[in-house]
Symmetry: C2
C-alpha cells in the first residue's frame, strides 16, 4: 500500500523511536491522525523543544535544560563530596527515585568498547579525571552495569580514582531484596554465596 | 524522579501515542536524546506537517494530502462502479495491499454506537446516501468488522443501498485460508459449517 507522501513520511520517521517497526508506526500515525490534531502538534512541538533545548550538563554530562543541571548546582549535594558514576541518564533517574543518594553524578553515556571504537575520551574519562584531581571528593561510587565492557570501564575508573587516593566503592550485587532463592539464576546465586556476609 | 521541564514535557506528550505508557515514553525520550538530534527534529517536523497537511478526502473521507485522494481522482477506479465501505483508513491500506479491489472506498471513521453517542451523521451516512443517490454505483461492498456495532452499521448501510436498488455484498467469513481446523475458535467453526458451500 502506498500511503500519501505526508503519511508515508510520518510512518517512516516514527521508526526512529526504539522498538517501533513499520506496523507499530502505522498504528501510531493513524492514531495521531484520529485524535484531535492539536495533540499531535503538541507532541511535535515538545519534541522539537527537547531536541534543541536539552544539552549535557557541563559538570556531570547528564541531560539538562541549563548549562549546569540542578543537582550539580545544589551546594547541599556538592557538600556530600560523593560522586556516583553511571552509564546512562536513565540510571540517574532510577537512583534519584530511591532518594537515598545525596551526592552528585557523572554520566558516561556509554562504556568503553574497543570493538565499537569507544575509547576513554568518548565517555568523558578525561573530564572525570579533572574533576577528581580538583580534590573535592572523598568517595567515588562506580555504578555501572556488569557486562564485560562495563566491568572493564569500572576498573579503569577505579584506577583513575585510586591515583588520587579516593575511596572507590560499587553497589552490592546478589539476590534482589524480596526475591525467592529458587527463582535465582546460577550466576547470581554463585556470586551471592561466594560473597556472603556475616549475619 | 523529577526530570527537567523540557524532558518531562516530552515524556508526558509521548504518551499520546497508542500503547505508550510512562516507562516506554521515558525510554523513547532518552533514545531520541541519545541519537543525532537531527533525527528527533525530523520526526517532529514530519509529525507537524502530517497533522496540518493531512485532511479527509471530500469524496471518500479517507486521509489524503489533497482535497480529493488519488483513488477517488482516478477515472479507472470510478469506472468500476463499485463502492467498498470500511470503518477505518487502515482498512483501506490493507485492502489496497491485496491489489484485488479496483473500485473506490468510503471510510466511516467509526461505526454507529448509541452508547458512545455516535450516530449516522457522525460516520457520514448522509454523505454516503448522497453518493449512492447520484446513481453511479452498481455494487456496494460493506466490509465492516463483525462487532455488534459493526453489524448494526452494516445493516443500516444495506438498507440505504437497498433503497437505490444496488447490489449489496460483504466479504465472506470463515476459516482463514491456510489455517488448520483444530486451531479455530468455536464461533468461527460454527459459522463456517452453517454457511458451508458446494465443493
Amino acid at each position: 500500500m502506498q500511503f500519501s507522501p505526508l503519511l508515508e513520511d510520518l510512518i517512516c520517521k516514527l521508526q526512529f523511536l526504539p522498538g517501533v517497526g513499520r506496523k507499530t508506526a502505522q498504528r501510531m500515525a493513524f492514531s495521531l491522525l484520529g485524535q484531535e490534531r492539536s495533540r499531535g502538534l503538541d507532541l511535535a512541538a515538545s519534541m522539537s523543544a527537547a531536541m534543541t533545548g536539552i544539552q549535557r550538563c557541563s559538570c556531570c554530562r547528564n541531560y539538562s535544560d541549563e548549562p549546569v543541571c540542578p543537582i550539580c548546582a545544589s551546594a547541599k549535594r556538592q557538600d556530600e563530596k560523593t560522586l556516583c558514576v553511571v552509564e546512562n541518564p536513565s540510571d540517574v533517574a532510577i537512583i534519584e527515585k530511591t532518594g537515598l543518594f545525596q551526592g552528585v553524578y557523572f554520566v558516561l553515556h556509554g562504556r568503553i568498547s574497543p570493538l565499537e571504537g569507544i575509547g576513554a575520551e568518548d565517555i568523558g574519562l578525561d573530564q572525570l579525571e579533572r574533576m577528581l584531581a580538583a580534590g573535592s571528593f572523598k568517595e567515588v561510587i562506580v555504578a555501572l552495569n556488569s557486562s564485560v565492557e562495563g566491568n572493564m570501564t569500572s576498573f579503569m575508573i577505579a584506577k583513575i580514582a585510586g591515583n588520587y587516593g579516593l575511596n572507590v566503592t560499587t553497589p552490592s550485587r546478589g539476590i534482589p531484596v524480596g526475591s525467592e532463592l529458587d527463582t535465582m539464576d546460577e550466576g547470581t546465586l554463585s556470586y551471592s554465596f561466594t560473597n556472603r556476609k556475616n549475619l
